[in-house]
């Protein structure tokens, strides 16, 4: 596939190359390209050279498909054995292989520490890459679901900064620290 090359400059002044089709996975970059104000290199003052290659890797994989990773994630859970009618078995197999392959890629791609998760989430938000934002935000949400506030703070290394008044309010009025069920 031949495509125009775009150059992106990270916050620490390093330049990276990306195909235009891939760059279009980012709403922000797409607007710059379509706006015609493309002047050689696009500066990205909010994205460092540590994280930009990771962003570009995602765009390369998803450029052109509007970044609907949700669809892939939903179709991907397919470990069931199924009885399929003969006539569209082949088509289904191809689809299954494609979905499994993407799923595997996503799994490997998302295998990183919290620092990267944090930076990647902010980059996806800044560059408006919906699929990448969905993936990273979901990973963060999965570290929150079902956990107690203490466990969440421990997971994300957060110190509680509530004022005594706020704590008082939560305990007395909202009962949020001490959530409990009273049975009748």
């Amino acid at each position: 596939m031949s495509s125009t090359k775009i150059f992106l400059k990270s916050s620490d002044d390093k330049t990276f190359e990306i195909d235009e089709t891939a760059a279009r996975a980012s709403e922000t970059l797409k607007n710059i390209i379509d706006g015609g104000c493309l002047d050689g290199v696009i500066p990205l003052p909010n994205v460092s050279s540590n994280i930009l290659p990771k962003v570009i890797e995602y765009c390369k994989k998803h450029g052109g498909d509007n970044g609907s990773s949700k669809k892939i994630a939903n179709g991907g859970v397919d470990k069931d054995k199924e009885i399929l009618p003969d006539y569209d078995e082949e088509e289904d197999k191809r689809e299954k292989v494609r979905v499994d392959e993407l799923k595997k890629w996503e799994e490997e791609y998302m295998d990183f520490d919290q620092q990267v998760l944090y930076d990647l989430m902010l980059a996806a938000n800044y560059l408006h890459i919906k699929g990448l934002l969905d993936l990273t935000v979901e990973k963060a949400a999965s570290m929150i679901r079902g956990r107690t506030p203490d466990q969440i703070r421990e997971n994300f290394n957060i110190n509680s900064d509530f004022t005594p008044e706020e704590e008082e309010e939560m305990i007395l009025i909202e009962d949020e620290w001490d959530d409990e069920w009273a049975f009748d």
């Binding site: 069931d80 199924e82 902010l122 929150i144 049975f183």
Partner: protein, 424 residues
């Protein structure tokens, strides 16, 4: 070191929007002040906020209904507590429970698959359950239409408080738990005639949908859309305009169809009834627990003997049969169906369906309807009451020791780690 408390408000908001359960939202707000400000409103408690549902155009025997919500939770000890609870083999057990919140903030405990309230609570059970150190995940929700003037009926009919005990699918314009009085909502249920009945916020009366071919069996809100399945397996999407669109052709076969969501897929579970073991050649190869029938041999009752599971292929308008559910457990309740992974409940294997049946009509004391629950193994076709499968019954009742007797099974010096339960 990254500062997660310094995440920009808009990103925090996107994360918070992924938390759909009441407890997750509550706990998110209790982490730190910046996280707290990302969700400005404390999540609402649904049951006391629902408007009265008028009955005009629906049935004429009552002055209206109200909608109550119940939530099915899986409770468990957090990993760090499991490690400190050495000596308690039950420490890692997950517990499945359904909870209904009443005004003002009183909780009713219910059998997760039926409408039986666990009342009176057994003496070993804490009156107050402290959740601050318990892992809690939401597995399903059910909405029930109840008569507003149901009191006079209490003595004349069993369960007259529930509208024909048909399932209610509920959809709200606001998918997060921070629901508001002004949020638009819609309810889909099955009318006594077998037709679909819909009510939307702002409506003055119910809309009965006249597309009947075969009576409807089940309704569900799946990915924000209403789906309904009839007795033949024919499945439709019900639009907010009350028009229906075919989404899957019939599968026929069994006697009652259930819709269940599992890992983002819509499944159809087809339940087969029989008058007794061996009277149908189709089921000759099925291993049926004798005791299972022995219990009810004095009654002429149809019994659940088999299940088939299908997955929806919407593009092809087809239900495709699944040979295996992998590690999934399906739960077919009277008012809601839900699914979970077997690894949430140590000791359970996947590929099982939990259902309710008239195993025990005597309804003895203290069983809270748990004897009505049965287990079906999709792998070998075995079926039987919960009581025959101790490993599988323990996720229902009695509650694990860390709930009912939190100090038991642990070393005395770790008492401080235990939930504060006030026995009274």
């Amino acid at each position: 070191m990254v500062e997660w408390s310094q995440l920009p408000g808009d990103v925090l908001e996107v994360i918070a929007r992924r938390l759909t359960t009441y407890f997750d939202v509550l706990r998110f707000r209790a982490v730190c002040s910046s996280w707290r400000s990302a969700i400005s409103q404390r999540p609402g408690h649904l049951p006391c906020r629902f408007p009265i549902v008028p009955n005009e155009g629906f049935v004429e025997t009552t002055c209206g209904f109200y909608l109550s919500k119940r939530t099915v939770y899986r409770l468990g000890l957090p990993e760090n507590r499991i490690q400190t609870c050495i000596g308690s083999s039950e420490a890692s057990d997950g517990w499945l429970i359904k909870v209904e919140e009443d005004v003002p903030e009183k909780m009713h405990l219910l059998n997760p698959l039926t409408m039986t309230q666990i009342k009176p609570l057994p003496s070993m059970f804490p009156k107050v359950l402290d959740l601050s150190d318990i892992r809690i995940s939401e597995l399903g929700q059910e909405h029930v239409l109840q008569y507003i003037n149901y009191r006079p009926f209490v003595n004349s009919f069993v369960d007259a408080g529930n509208l024909y005990m048909e399932k209610v699918a509920f959809s709200s314009s606001n998918s997060s738990s921070a629901i508001d009085d002004n949020d638009a909502f819609a309810i889909l249920t099955i009318h006594v005639s077998g037709k679909l009945a819909m009510f939307k916020s702002g409506d003055e009366k119910w809309t009965i949908i006249e597309d009947l071919r075969s009576p409807y069996d089940d309704v569900i809100c799946f990915k924000g859309k209403f789906y309904a399945v009839d007795n033949t397996g024919r499945t439709v999407i019900v639009e907010p305009s009350a028009s229906v669109t075919l989404t899957a052709f019939p599968v026929f076969g069994g006697d009652k169809k259930y819709l269940v969501e599992s890992e983002g897929d819509l499944l159809l579970v087809d339940l087969y009834l029989s008058m007794g073991p061996g009277d149908d050649p189709c089921f000759d190869n099925i291993n049926i627990d004798d005791e299972f029938y022995h219990r009810i041999d004095t009654f002429i009752v149809e019994k659940t003997v088999h299940f088939k599971v299908f997955k929806l292929y919407e593009v092809r308008q087809k239900w495709v049969e699944l040979q295996s559910l992998g590690d999934r457990l399906l739960f077919l309740g009277d008012n809601c169906s839900f699914s979970t992974s077997a690894c949430e409940f140590p000791g359970c294997k996947g590929n099982r369906i939990y259902f309710t049946d008239a195993f025990n009509c005597s309804n003895g004391e203290d069983d809270y309807g748990f004897k009505e629950i049965g287990v079906f193994n999709l792998e070998d076709g075995c079926i039987g009451p919960l009581a025959s499968y101790p490993g599988y019954s323990k996720l229902f009742w009695p509650p694990p020791s860390w709930v009912s007797a939190p100090s038991a099974g642990t070393n005395g010096n770790q008492l401080e780690d235990q939930p504060a339960c006030e026995a009274s």
